[in-house]
Each structure stands twice: as structure tokens, then as C-alpha cells.
Symmetry: C2
Subunit: 539 residues, 2 copies
């Protein structure tokens, strides 16, 4: 096992905002005034309280449980932390409702302890101990959930602990012939890429949360990245998984594909820690591409751009990256870069690979996009996107400080259902937010395409108003109901957590929910794992 730590650790995530707050830029008064005008609203600042003002509830972890858990952690008391700084930083994910609560210092729920196991065996021992002691466990990776996935819910238990996997950070092995790597779950994406790059390989998995998210989190939430058209969604890249459960270890995946019954990998993928804690993932890797080319195209409308992406997805021409912004997003993104947008909608395509092959794919794709009615814009607009693509969460905090909500939500559907879904969500959200507190600007892009359909990713910008959390909840509920009614999935790559759980009965039906509950009872009979997440309650 190559268990040296990656050299460049990302800085610790802020407790009240995304990432490293020193990277956030303030909003100029003139831009703020322009936004206020566009939203038709008064804005009022929403500054964060100081950390020293935050009062956490006292730790409810009893002495006996503490002793048992410490023993499971090899008797190392340093692996069980109950200080406020550690607890505060595992009290919430990074959804807008999370940020609003944290900023306000309204931290009414916090884990009673933070556990830092050294490896798989300690994770398994902790789960056994917590099962015996009746302590709820919330697995914690990068803490980047935007759906309440790391909320420290205790369910019917008197205590809850955050199980932080950061010390499971090794590249366990690399099989160059099979092009697979075994990665521990707590590795953050940049660390995993650094360890792989030393050997000439890459995962190519680049979600918005890239800088902080972990390998285990990618697997547990079915993450999808900006280059998933070429490299595949994370769930597509997983060849095998190892998970610790309160009843022991579950390993899935003996071959690339198998007909030996249901695919148990697909039961652990997306399981969000309710069945067990994924500790190790065997994932497909690729040689670092030696060539890359990006280019932008303009299409007259969202519908025509979507038809062009569909033609690509249904051909043998799969770019590594393929995205389409609607008219509003195209305009706003150009404005954010200080540029004039081309009229219509922006399409970005990117190609990773070998030099000659990239050029061949580029040329064939260009021909297809031209035939579909697109106009080539060259590479420059993509450089802006590449440059700022991990910056959006910082911008969200900047806007929030200025009293502006800028939150995202996403879905996916078949191509034939995509435009109706797009219109339904857009008007549901706009309708829910329009009123005395102003209106909403709704941006959308398609960032993941498949032969049979695509994702839709919405960004909603609106004034925070007098009760920002309730205001956002109203929009979110309207969007979720519209998605369910239009037959889309309630989440294409953000996962379920607490926030999408109300729509799970519609998503998987009563028998689907019973199947999940049955698996949970088998693997986690005490029900300590992530109570209140993912699986709908029995009726």
C-alpha cells in the first residue's frame, strides 16, 4: 500500500461557507445594484456570526459509549474528538439552507463526537460498537453534500457521531494492465489525482465539488463530473467496492461484468451510508491525456442546442465534455466574465486523448454541430469556463453575504421529456419566488448526456428576503413537485440526503422503498447508520 499522504492537502473547509474563504471575492456595489435591479428586490446583508459566538449543544455521548468507541479506535483517545471546533465543522453540508443556518450561528444540531478511524478495520469496529451502544453514525467525507447528506441526525438514538474518513487516504494499489486503482474512501479528489498522476494516470472525475469531495463520497452519492461524457459517471467507473457494515465487511465486484445475480456494486453505489461505510473503491483509471482541445459553439436556441447534443450522444462521436447553457445562463456567464455573450445558447465541447485522435474527433464533432445549426466560436469562451469552473460555490457565498440566494438543483430525463421538464421546472421555480420580495432569475444547463436522455442543472438567483430559508424551501418544493410530475428523476448527481427524501416514494415506489428497507435491516439491524437519510419511512 502506498500510504504516504498526498503532498498538497487542500485547506480546511470553512465552517460557514464553501472552501477557503480567503478565495472568495467581495461583490462591488455597482454589480450588487445591477443584480438588485434585475431581481426587482431590496437586498440586505447576511453576514456570518463569529465562530466564538456559536453555541453548540453539549455532547450527549455517554461514558460507556465513549469507552467502547475509543476501544474500537485502537484505544487512541485522539481519534475521538468532542471539542467544539471539530464538532462544528461536521454539523452541516453546503446547501444554501446549511449555509444560512451556519451563518446565523443557529447550530442546534451537532455531532456529539467526531471519530477519525485509521482504516477499514477501525471503521468496522466503530460500527459494531455504535450498534451495541445505540449511537447513530453519520459517515463524513469532504462535507460537500448539498442535500443534507451529512446532517447530524440522531433518529431515535440519544447520541450521534460523525465518522470522518480523512485518514483513509491511500492509493492502495494500481493495476496498470487492467487500468484500475484501489483508492481509500477518504482521499479527496485532488489528492487522488496527485497520487495517480505520479504513475501517469487520472480518474478524470471533475464535479463542481472537486476540490473538497472524496472518493468515498463520489461512490456513496453517484457523483457525476464535468467530463463524465468521456470518462463516465463515477458509478460507471467503479469496478469493485469494499464497505464496512455493523454486521461485517461486504465486498462487491469480482469481474468487469458478471451475470452472477443482481449487481451488488449498484446497491452500495448511491447508498449514502445507510447500508454501510464504503472504505475502498476499485476504480477505472486512464493514462493522463496527452492532448486536449476545447471549443465553444453558438446555437440559436436551447431546443436546437439540445438537439445537437442529442445527435452527438446518439452517435459514436462522444466528446469528453459536452454542455449546453440556456439563453439566460449564456448571457449571465458572459456578463460574469465581463464579455458580451453571443446571441442564443452556448455549447462547449472538449476532447481529451492522443493528439491525432483528438483532432479526428474534433473535426467529426464540428461537422455534426455545423449540420445541427451551430456556429463555431473558437476556444476562448471555454477558457473562461475552465478557469472559473470550481469558483461557483465561492460566488454563492459572496452573493449570500450580499443578501442574494444563488442555489442549484438538478434532474434528468429522456430526450423526449427534456424540454417539457425544462419548462416545467423553470416556471415552477419562477412562480414560487415571484412576489413582493422580487423575482427569480433561473439559469439552466445540460451537462451530462446519454444516448437516451440528459441532465438539467438549474441555478436559481433571487433576493434572500426576510425569511431566506423558507423562501428557498418554497422554490425547492415547487421544483421537486414539478420534476416528479414531469417524470424526471429527483436527482441526477446530488443524491438524496434529507432534502430529496420527500420525493423518494414517487421515485422508487412503495416496493422499491421496501426493498431498500429490507437491505438496511439485514446489514444495519440496529438502524444506526445515517438515520433520516435517503430511505423513505415506512407508511
Amino acid at each position: 500500500m502506498s500510504n504516504r499522504r498526498a503532498a498538497s492537502r487542500v485547506p480546511e473547509m470553512s465552517w460557514f461557507a464553501w472552501g477557503d474563504p480567503s478565495r472568495a471575492e467581495p461583490l462591488s456595489d455597482s454589480v450588487r445594484a445591477l443584480i438588485a435591479e434585475a431581481l426587482g428586490a431590496e437586498l440586505r446583508d447576511l453576514p456570518p456570526v463569529a465562530e466564538s459566538e456559536v453555541r453548540l449543544p453539549p455532547s450527549a455521548l455517554g461514558g460507556e459509549a465513549r469507552t467502547a468507541i475509543t476501544a474500537a479506535l485502537g484505544g487512541d483517545a485522539g481519534r475521538l474528538r468532542t471539542d467544539d471546533a471539530a464538532r462544528l465543522r461536521r454539523s452541516a453540508g453546503k446547501s444554501t439552507p446549511d449555509l444560512l443556518r451556519m451563518r446565523a450561528g443557529a447550530v442546534s444540531e451537532a455531532p456529539d463526537a467526531v471519530l477519525l478511524p485509521a482504516g477499514h478495520d477501525q471503521v468496522e469496529a466503530v460500527l459494531r460498537a455504535c450498534s451495541e451502544q445505540g449511537v447513530a453514525v453519520v459517515p463524513f467525507g469532504g462535507g460537500t453534500s448539498v442535500v443534507g447528506g451529512v446532517a447530524p441526525l440522531r433518529g431515535r438514538f440519544s447520541a450521534v457521531v460523525a465518522l470522518d474518513l480523512r485518514e483513509l487516504d491511500a492509493l492502495v494499489s494500481l493495476d496498470e494492465e487492467s487500468r484500475t486503482a484501489v483508492l481509500q474512501a477518504g482521499l479527496r479528489a485532488p489528492e487522488a489525482e496527485e497520487l495517480l498522476a505520479e504513475r501517469g494516470y487520472t480518474l478524470g472525475h471533475l464535479p463542481q465539488s472537486y476540490e473538497y469531495a472524496t472518493i468515498g463520497g463520489f461512490a456513496a452519492t453517484r457523483s457525476s463530473g464535468q467530463a463524465s461524457a468521456g470518462y463516465g459517471r463515477f458509478d460507471d467507473m467503479v469496478v469493485a467496492l469494499k464497505a464496512a457494515t455493523p454486521r461485517g465487511t461486504l465486498e462487491a465486484g469480482r469481474a468487469p461484468s458478471s451475470a452472477a445475480g443482481p449487481d451488488l456494486r449498484q446497491l452500495l453505489l448511491g447508498s449514502e451510508g445507510v447500508f454501510g461505510v464504503i472504505t475502498e473503491v476499485t476504480v477505472r483509471v486512464r493514462p493522463i491525456p496527452r492532448a486536449r482541445h476545447d471549443e465553444a459553439w453558438a446555437f440559436p436556441s436551447f431546443a436546437e442546442g439540445a438537439a445537437a447534443l442529442r445527435a452527438l450522444a446518439q452517435s459514436e462521436l462522444r466528446p469528453t465534455t459536452a454542455r449546453l447553457s440556456d439563453e439566460t445562463e449564456t448571457f449571465v456567464n458572459a456578463a460574469l466574465s465581463g464579455k458580451q455573450a453571443a446571441p442564443g445558447c452556448l455549447v462547449v465541447v472538449g476532447f481529451d486523448g492522443e493528439a491525432g485522435e483528438v483532432e479526428a474527433r474534433r473535426a467529426a464533432t464540428a461537422a455534426a454541430l455545423t449540420e445541427a445549426g451551430g456556429s463555431a466560436l473558437g476556444s476562448e469562451p471555454v477558457a473562461d469556463w475552465r478557469h472559473s469552473r470550481f469558483h461557483a460555490p465561492y460566488l454563492r457565498d459572496t452573493l449570500l453575504s450580499a443578501g442574494i440566494l444563488a442555489e442549484t438543483l438538478e434532474t434528468a430525463a429522456s430526450w423526449s421529456g427534456l424540454l417539457p421538464l425544462y419548462r416545467a421546472v423553470g416556471s415552477a421555480v419562477s412562480g414560487a419566488l415571484e412576489g413582493p420580495e422580487g423575482k427569480a432569475v433561473v439559469l439552466c444547463h445540460v451537462s451530462h448526456t446519454y444516448p437516451e436522455g440528459a441532465s438539467l442543472y438549474f441555478t436559481v438567483v433571487t433576493a434572500a428576503g426576510a425569511a431566506p430559508a423558507a423562501r428557498w424551501e418554497r422554490a425547492k418544493r415547487a421544483a421537486g413537485d414539478a420534476i416528479a410530475a414531469a417524470g424526471g428523476t429527483i436527482t441526477h448527481h446530488h443524491a438524496v440526503g434529507t432534502d430529496h427524501r420527500p420525493w423518494m416514494p414517487a421515485e422508487i415506489g412503495p416496493l422499491g422503498a421496501e426493498a431498500l428497507r429490507a437491505v438496511k435491516s439485514a446489514l444495519d439491524p440496529a438502524g444506526i447508520l445515517n438515520p433520516g437519510k435517503l430511505i423513505p419511512e415506512a407508511e
Copy 2:
């Protein structure tokens, strides 16, 4: 719903052999003598008994159960058959042990009735009735299982029925924009292709069992076809599923991909009827390719051929078909076509698509194969393979009549594990069969490749000997143990049924088995569905 029947129904499957026995050709005395010499064995004929000599056990279906099931079938008594002809034809699949039993007229187990439901609702009603009445149910599609998947096992119940889905044979809908089709489970592959071809589309799914296998069977067993490199395995092509269970209907799949928890499609795929009966599958379709090109290549050795296929699988160059025969299979296949084999190993690549694009892929693939040490052989050797590719099961019956076992088994592993697995299985099978009754000739090919590994498909030819079933069982056990020890999967595309069940504990571990049992208890609490198949018994 386009529920007209496909015009060209395949002829009824023989009760003691594969397919339509009129298509089987006899073995000449001279070829038989050559085989006997190669196997170092005396051969003795194994002719089938006449159907009139077969005595089935009387139907054990009680009057009350019969009444309840007939009611579930809409009160149509013609949908519940208990005549010997119907029962005999659902008494076994098509493995060599099945064929040996049937030929000998040793049909000690038969379904007590054959049910012919008219649609999903009747399937669901039947399952409810059988659940209440304590009658085991074996879903029956094409009857092509080679792993005991349709064996009429009754478990702890006093009666068992075969639930034949042949009347669920409609193309329900075709979404041309999303390129998906909703197909009923009982459609045989040629019928499905015919219905799709009328609209210009194809599934491109071509397993050896193509002529008889059904859409539902493909899904329930995770079938993989000869063009799966290009079109994907059947489980990859499934966008949504509908299944009837004793507790109601379960539908899975609202979008191409989703992060809304575990993928329940992947729980039904490969479930072999133990959780429910798949009645409808939404599957990806493609326009019928306008161009096709095949070509053959020679490689000096199996290892070099495998390295070449690996290079293709790990590149962007995915042929629609890619297969590699080892030295023995290359020699034997050429001999069967009355030709002299090129020395070494045969590789076949095929490309479906648009004319210009097929040529570009062919040229790039040819360059890669040349670089990997291959020599081009042109298209002619592939024509032989295409011509005879659905004929192998017929040849198996011909050989069996002449006292020669010719059975297949298959597995898959990572590329780094593939050659060790190949050698381990080959020597385990040869060792198990070598002795006073002669020896075995073991052929192997790679027919499915992935970036991270590939399948191995073995054909074992040996004299039937004095106790053919026991002789084959010895070889099968040796192969299964060798596969489990070498880390391969016990089945890449034949499924589990009864025959691979002994290796399921090694395949999925005790917790994996418990997860499957838990799902089964939730969906089929009475346990009527396919007892004795797939899921290992609790210890």
C-alpha cells in the same frame, strides 16, 4: 400498443434437444472416428427415447389452487395447461445435464401446470394466487437456460407451475427521439428485432441463444451478446424495467442515470425470477446500421491476441464485435469449416455503423492490431463464423447422439488476472476428465472485452463415457472451483440458476447473500418464486 404478433415465429423448441431438430445434421462415421481418436475414447450412441415413452409424474396441482390460478388468468381455462406435452416442454433448460436427462426419458420432475398469462396484470394476479395457495412459480421465457434456471423445483411447496410469458409479445412503444423501446418480456429476440426493424431500429443483441431467447430472459439473466462490445451487454441497454411481484408491481428507472439511491434496475437485472417476474423492459435501440465490415486477424499466441484486444478495449476504438479464439479453438473451427487454420490464434473484429465512419474505425483498428503483432486475414474467415454462429447448440446435440459431450462454461476477470484464470480453468477441466474414459479437448475464446478485463468462454469436448452426467459434473465442479480460486466470476453471462449456486457464497460473500435474501423476503414473503435458484441458502 403495437400488439400484433411478429409474423415469423420460430418453430417450437424440441423437448429433448436444442431448437428445431430438423436443422441438426448427422455426424459422418469418418468424422466420428477422428474425434474418437482425438479423445482417446470409445464412443457409444446416446439416442433420445421417443416422446411416447416418457412418463411424467402426475400433476400435483390441487383443485383449490387450480381454481384460484384460473381466476387470476381471467377465468380462461385454456391459459392453464396440465397436458403432458405442455409440461414436458417446460421441464428442463438446455444444459448438457438437462439434455442427458431428457434424452434418457428420465423426467422425474415436471411443472404441475403451465400457465399462459395474457399480460402484466394476469402475471401479478397469478403470483398473488400462488402466494396464497403455496404454489411455487418458475418464470419461463425461451427455455434456453444452460444453468438449471428453469428447472421445475418446488422447494417446500407441494406444487410448482411454469409461468410461460410467450403471450407478452408486444412492442409496447418506441420513442424515436430518445431511442428507446418498451418491449414485453415474452418477445423472442428475432420477433423483437422484426418489430423494431419495421421502424428502422435494432437491439443488436446476439447471444448464442438468439433464436429462442426472450427479452425478459435477457434481462433476468444479464445476457451478453456477440456484438456487446459495440451495443453493450443487455444489462447496459436497459433504461427501465417493470416487474410483477407477489406484493404488487415494481417499476425502476425514471431517467438515463440517477443519484436517487441504489440503482433498483440493477437489483432486478440478473434476479432470475426470484424477486419477481419482469414483464416489460425499456431498452436502448439503435438505427439499423447501414454499413458493416468484418475482418479476421491472426496472432502468434493467445497471450498476444489478448494483449491486442486489451489495447482496443482501452482505446477509443471499440469495434462492434471483438473476439479471440485460442490455438485449439482456432484449429478446431477451421477444421469444422473444412479449412486449414492459419497458425496461432484467430481474432475477429466487426464494425456496424455508417459507411464512412465504419471505414475510419476499421482503418484505425487495423493499425492498432498490426502494431500489436497481428496479420490481416481478410473477411472470409468471419463469413464462416457469421454463417454458423447460431449452429453450435445443434452441433452439440449431434455430438451427444454420437456419445460425445460438448459443453461450454464461461467466466470473466481483470486483464491482469485473465491468463492465469485461462490456464487454471483449462488444466482443472483437463485434469478432471483425463482417465480411462479418454481425455478432453478444451477450446477457449474471449468474446467480451472491457477496459478493465474480459470474459473467457470454454468449450469442453470429451467422450460421454459410462456415466455422462457424473462425468460432466466432475468437470464442471473442477472448473467452478478453479474460477473461484483464481478470483474470476462464476458466470459472465450464463447466470446462476441451480448449477452455479454452490459458488455464490464465494462470489458475493455472506452479507451479499443476506442482502439478496432480505430483498426476496420483502418482495416474495411466501418464497414461491423460483425456489432453489440463484440465492444461496442461509447457513
